[in-house]
Symmetry: C2
Subunit: 113 residues, 2 copies
Amino acid sequence: MAKLDPALDLAFAALSDPTRRRILERLARGPATVSEMHAAHDMSLPSFTAHLKKLEGAGLITSEKTGRVRSCALSPGAFAPVQDWLAEQRALWQGRLDRFDTYVTQLSEERKP
Amino acid sequence: MAKLDPALDLAFAALSDPTRRRILERLARGPATVSEMHAAHDMSLPSFTAHLKKLEGAGLITSEKTGRVRSCALSPGAFAPVQDWLAEQRALWQGRLDRFDTYVTQLSEERKP
DNA sequence: TGATTACTTAGCCATATGGCTAAGCTTGAT
DNA sequence: ATCAAGCTTAGCCATATGGCTAAGTAATCA
């Protein structure tokens, strides 16, 4: 499996900002328009839409403009690469613990006879 | 439960750089010294240790200097806040899907009689 | 004691990030 | 035809990030 590092870079960077995480939390409950979401944030509209652009650039959300209104939604499965990476780390770590356990067990076995 | 946003900010930001993820992948296999890890990265030592400082600042790794050598290790459970946040998102999303399903089911029930 | 190893600190540089205001530009309502 | 709503673009600003080199410090080795 390839690393897809750039995608991880973008996803993690997008997640590192509290405004953007709040947006994602909102969208997890269902789609919303730019203005609807902006109303909950004490920030200029251009600054706010810049955050949306980052989230979309990272593939975490999608958006579509209908008339003059842009509607946003969570990208289904967008967190998968991130969760996969974390799961892999966990597996590596667990593997190390297991090997350490084996090692300790062997040590105590060697001591017995 | 409080949000602990600053911790998440730091953790996600630390994870957004490929060099730092490589360091974490290395440390998941066991502790290592600064020089050992630096050998695998085509980068000046000061730049490299800056990455280590970020990881430590985010609470993802710990380090201890013995003599003139600094040894680094993964912080056990350091990914927990990150994984918890992702799990919560997943739960929100799943809740939404469930409610949508209920809604669709109700619609079709109402149509039957 | 003197040299070498293993960092550490200081300072510089280019680019990225996150905020703002002001001025567009469609689209929808009147 | 006009006006308001809902973004969008452009440009500015301060700070943060990620890289470098050069110089400093502390510990070990010969």
